[in-house]
C-alpha cells in the first residue's frame, strides 16, 4: 500500500518507519494508525528485517492523539476513548514490545502524550537534545495510556512517575537520559546518524538472541525472581539451539569476527 502519513523503507536488514504528518507534529489520526499497523505487519513478516527504527519528520516526534479527530462539544455524548485505545493504541504497543528484534526510537523533537509512551515502548531510545517528553494527559483530564503508567514507574521510579503524570512537566532529553528514562541524548544533527549506526550494528547481531533478551526483560516487570529464573532457563535453552550461538562460540575460539545470520 502507498503511504500518506508515514514513510517506510527497508535497507540492509534495517526497517525505518518515519511518522510523517509534520504539520500536526505527527499526531495520530485513524489513517496513520492504519498505515503504521500495515508497515509493522511487514516488519513482522519480513525475514530480512533484523532491526526497526521509529522516528518522525519535522519538529516533533509525535504529539500523541490528533485531538481535532475528536469531537467533545458541550451537550454531546461523552466519547468512548477506551474504544480507540483497544482498537489502535494498545495493539500498537503490544506489537512494538512483541517484535522479535530490537526496536530503536529516534526521538527527533517533542514527544507528547501517547507519543512519549510509544517511545518508551521501544527497546533503545535516542533523543535529540532539543527533544522533550511530556505526559500531557493530566492537563486535559486524562490518564497516560500506551502503557505509560506501566513503563514510567519502571523507567524512573514511582515518585518521578507520579510527578510527571500528575504535573505534566516537560522533561528535556538530557534530563531524561540522567533519569534513566532513555538510553542517550545526542546532538540534534547527529541523531539520525547515531540511530542508523546503532541499527546497522544491531542488524548484524544475533537477532534471535536479542529477541529473547527483550522477552526476558519485558517479562521481568511482572515476574517474581523465581518465575524469572525459570524463564531465563527456558529462553537460554532456546538461545543455545540457535546457529548464531554456535557461530559466536566458534568465532571466539578461532579468534575471528563472527558472522551472525539472526537464526
Amino acid at each position: 500500500m502507498a503511504y500518506e502519513t508515514i514513510e517506510f523503507e527497508i535497507t540492509e536488514g534495517v526497517a525505518v518507519l518515519t511518522l510523517n504528518r509534520p504539520q500536526s507534529l505527527n499526531s495520530f489520526n485513524t489513517d496513520m494508525h492504519a498505515e503504521v499497523r500495515d508497515a509493522l505487519k511487514t516488519v513482522k513478516k519480513s525475514a530480512e528485517v533484523r532491526c526497526l527504527v521509529l522516528t518522525g519528520n519535522g519538529r516533533g516526534f509525535c504529539a500523541g492523539q490528533d485531538l481535532s479527530d475528536r469531537n467533545v462539544a458541550p451537550g454531546t455524548e461523552a466519547p468512548n476513548l477506551g474504544e480507540s485505545i483497544e482498537k489502535n493504541y494498545s495493539p500498537l504497543i503490544r506489537t512494538l514490545m512483541g517484535l522479535e528484534m530490537p526496536v530503536i526510537c529516534a526521538v527527533n523533537g517533542v514527544a507528547a502524550g501517547a507519543g512519549a509512551n510509544i517511545a518508551f515502548a521501544c527497546d533503545i531510545v535516542l533523543a535529540a537534545k532539543s527533544a522533550s517528553f511530556i505526559q500531557a494527559f493530566c492537563k486535559i483530564g486524562l490518564v497516560p495510556d500506551c502503557g505509560g503508567t506501566w513503563s514510567l514507574p519502571n523507567l524512573v521510579g514511582r515518585a518521578r512517575a507520579m510527578g510527571l503524570a500528575m504535573l505534566g512537566d516537560k522533561v528535556k532529553a538530557e534530563q531524561a537520559e540522567q533519569w534513566g528514562m532513555i538510553w542517550k541524548a545526542v546532538d540534534d544533527e547527529a541523531l539520525k546518524d547515531e540511530a542508523m549506526k546503532l541499527a546497522k550494528h544491531l542488524a548484524t547481531q544475533p537477532t534471535k538472541g536479542l529477541a529473547l533478551i527483550k522477552r526476558a526483560i519485558n517479562a521481568s516487570a511482572t515476574n517474581d525472581m523465581d518465575a524469572q529464573l525459570d524463564l531465563e532457563r527456558d529462553l537460554q535453552t532456546l538461545a543455545g539451539r540457535t546457529d548464531d550461538y554456535r557461530e559466536g562460540v566458534a568465532a571466539f575460539m578461532e579468534k575471528r569476527q563472527p558472522n551472525f545470520k539472526g537464526q
Binding site: 522477552r215 527456558d234 529462553l235 535453552t237 532456546l238
Partner: protein, 259 residues
C-alpha cells in the same frame, strides 16, 4: 488400525504415546473422524503395556479451535440424536491411563473440552480457552458445561459458556484449568517431561490414583474415601508396592515392573 487422517500417533518412547492433532488447515477442528481416530488409538493403548502415559498436543500454534462447524451444520435434530460423537467422547473419557495435554494457542469449544478430558494440562502463555458455542446458538456438548464448573467454579464457567468470551493461559492457571504456563516453545517439552516422569512410576498405582481422583467428581466424600481405601489396600498386593517401600528403606532407586 486403518490409516490415520486427522491425528499423528508416535511410536511409544520412554513409555509415552504422543497423539498430535493434525488438521492444520482447519485449526485442528475436531471432526467426527478425528474423534473416532482418538478413541480407537486410546482403546488400543489401553491394551498396550508399553504405553504408560499419553501426551496429547496440537503442536506449536494451536491446540484445537472447536468442533467442525461445517459437519455440524449438516445435522438436523434426528441426525444429532444419532450422532456417534458422544460414543467417541465416552471412550476417550474412559481411558484409564494418565493423559497430559500440551496446549498452545486456541483451545476452544470442543478443543477446550478435549483438553479437559486430559488429566494434566501444560499451556503455553499464548494459549486461549473458551466455550464459544453460544455464539452459534448451541451449547457445549462434550462436557463443557460440566467439567468447566468443576475446574473453574460457577461464576467463571457461566461467564465463559454464556458470553463466549475467551480467557488467557494465566487466567486458566489462576482458575485451575491448567497447572503450568510456560513459553510456547517449551510447552510440548515440559508436558513430555511430565508424561515421561509419570511413565516411570508404578503403573498400577498410577491407574488407581487417577481413578480415585476422577471418582471425586462422581460421588460423595464418604464413597470416595471408601474407594481410595480399597485401592490403597489392593496396592498392598502388588510387587511394585513392596519394591517401592524396600527401595526407600534401602536408600536405592526402585525398579518397578508393573506387577
Amino acid at each position: 488400525m486403518q490409516d490415520l487422517q486427522d491425528i499423528i500417533v508416535s511410536d511409544v518412547q520412554k513409555g509415552v504415546l504422543t497423539i498430535t492433532l493434525n488438521r492444520p488447515e482447519a485449526y485442528n477442528a475436531l471432526r467426527t473422524n478425528l474423534l473416532q481416530e482418538m478413541a480407537d488409538t486410546l482403546d488400543a493403548a489401553v491394551l498396550n503395556d508399553d504405553v504408560k502415559a499419553v501426551l496429547v498436543t496440537g503442536g506449536e500454534k494451536v491446540f484445537a479451535a472447536g468442533a467442525d462447524i461445517k459437519e455440524m451444520a449438516s445435522l438436523d435434530a434426528v441426525g444429532v440424536m444419532n450422532d456417534p460423537r458422544p460414543t467417541y467422547w465416552r471412550r476417550i473419557n474412559a481411558f484409564p491411563k494418565p493423559m497430559v495435554a500440551a496446549v498452545n494457542g486456541f483451545a476452544l469449544g470442543g478443543g477446550c473440552e478435549l483438553m479437559m478430558h486430559c488429566d494434566i494440562v501444560i499451556a503455553g502463555d499464548n494459549a486461549q480457552f473458551g466455550q464459544p458455542e453460544i455464539n452459534l446458538g448451541i451449547i457445549p456438548g462434550a462436557g463443557g458445561t460440566q467439567r468447566l464448573v468443576r475446574a473453574v467454579g460457577k461464576s467463571m464457567a457461566m461467564q465463559l459458556v454464556l458470553s463466549g468470551e475467551f480467557i488467557s493461559a494465566e487466567q486458566g492457571r489462576d482458575f485451575g484449568l491448567v497447572s503450568e504456563v510456560v513459553i510456547p516453545e517449551r510447552t510440548l517439552e515440559r508436558a513430555r517431561q511430565l508424561a515421561e516422569k509419570i511413565a516411570t512410576k508404578p503403573p498400577i498405582a498410577v491407574r488407581l490414583a487417577k481413578e480415585a481422583i476422577l471418582k471425586s467428581y462422581e460421588t460423595t466424600l464418604d464413597s470416595g474415601l471408601n474407594l481410595e481405601r480399597k485401592a490403597f489396600t489392593m496396592l498392598a498386593a502388588t510387587e511394585d508396592r513392596n519394591e517401592g517401600i524396600a527401595a526407600f528403606m534401602e536408600k536405592r532407586k526402585p525398579n518397578f515392573t508393573g506387577k
